[in-house]
Amino acid sequence: MRDAATTTRFIATLLFIAAAVSTPGAQQRGSSGPLPRTADGKPDLTGVYQASTRRGAWDYDVPGEQAGVPAARPAGDAQPTGARPEPVPFTPEARQRAQAILNRRSVDDPATLCLPQPTPRMTPVALFPVQIVQTPQQIVMLYEYFGQSRVIPIGGKQPDDIEPAYMGNAVGHWDGDTLVVEMVGFKPGLWFGNGLVTTDALKITERFTRIDHDQLNYEAVLEDPKVLTKPYTMRSTLMLREGTRLREYSCIENNVDPQRYEKLLSDPSTFTRTPPVQ
């Protein structure tokens, strides 16, 4: 058993490291410059971004000495914190369904069929950039992943003829320096990872806050009383990637999964798993 002082130092060290990696935008080089603004004084979100907490050029892993394992990152370089730091507040029924999905290793994920995905699922994906084009009247967001896009009118109201959609219907407004995007009108059966599948009651409120030249903080609050007992918040940090362009990602170009899965699903026992005993 360690003595009290050693234990306290150990915990303090852990908490220090945890704070260093959990602070949005934690990194060693500091702010790269002030938040740019448009002529009307609003924050200018225009740019190409990547989900990451590293500033500068495109952030990707390189192999290390051991096959398949990334090289160690430089000291002080924070790992991204991920988009789901808090547990999902499932209803009991939704939790049961989520576990069943995980037991099947998410084989039924509609992404496998190249179906469009809701933005809180696409935004924090570190491999693919997101481009924002801003005008005073509307903001356009382009996603390389699945080649999706959306136009967000600023200051508008939700239309009264919404058709259920994979990405819902978005309207935006400014709350100080934060762009708030409210979305309703989702199709039922959308996947958000961790076994969360939403219903037609889903409402999402996104908040985009560009805190300096490089960093855009992203938050999405999901409300769906049919599967969640309270609002569920997903967070991610995006970093500006000057010099990066969006490329064509045609998901159906060479999608061999449906054929493979058709064969594998004839005997799911080959890949299903049982959760470890808690």
């Binding site: 989900a51 390189v62 290793r105 994920d109 496998t112 490329r247």
Partner: protein, 142 residues
């Protein structure tokens, strides 16, 4: 368990949770097709390169223990991601090149693998696909 140990365990778990990387963005589940418990290292000759979305495929001929040549299909990142991971189409790897790969085999035992890392003829190492387990979710609901 003493309180000290409990607090220490909780702090360690919190740190592990905070270090979790962001979603790698798999279009499909790794574990439906591939087995993370079946790592494989192969050396072979490149015969074909499908530089495509939503996944690229590299094909290599590998001699098995009896000298028989087996064509392996190796799956990895989409073309858009490869381009940002250091790969150049028709340049980084050419047909006829000998490369060594590390990955994980398909569950069904066929000559199919998820290609994580390639070692090129000049010794350079590049990732070709995400880590094992991407896209399938954790074993238990969080």
């Amino acid at each position: 368990m003493t309180l000290t140990v409990a607090v220490r365990s909780a702090a360690a778990l919190a740190l592990v949770a905070l270090l979790a990387p962001p979603p790698a963005g798999a279009h499909h589940s790794f574990g439906v097709v591939y087995d993370a418990n079946k790592p494989v290292t192969l050396t072979g000759t490149v015969t074909k390169f499908e530089w495509t979305n939503p996944h690229s495929h590299l094909f290599i001929d590998v001699k098995d223990g009896s000298g028989k040549v087996v064509s392996w299909a190796l799956e990895g990142y989409p073309a858009t991601v490869l381009a940002r991971t250091g790969w150049k189409r028709d340049e980084t790897v050419k047909i006829g090149d000998t490369i060594t790969i590390f990955g994980w085999r398909a569950r069904d035992g066929s000559p199919l693998a998820h290609l994580r890392q390639a070692t090129l003829p000049d010794g350079r190492k590049l990732f070709f696909g995400p880590p094992a387990g991407t896209g399938e979710g954790a074993a238990t609901v969080r």
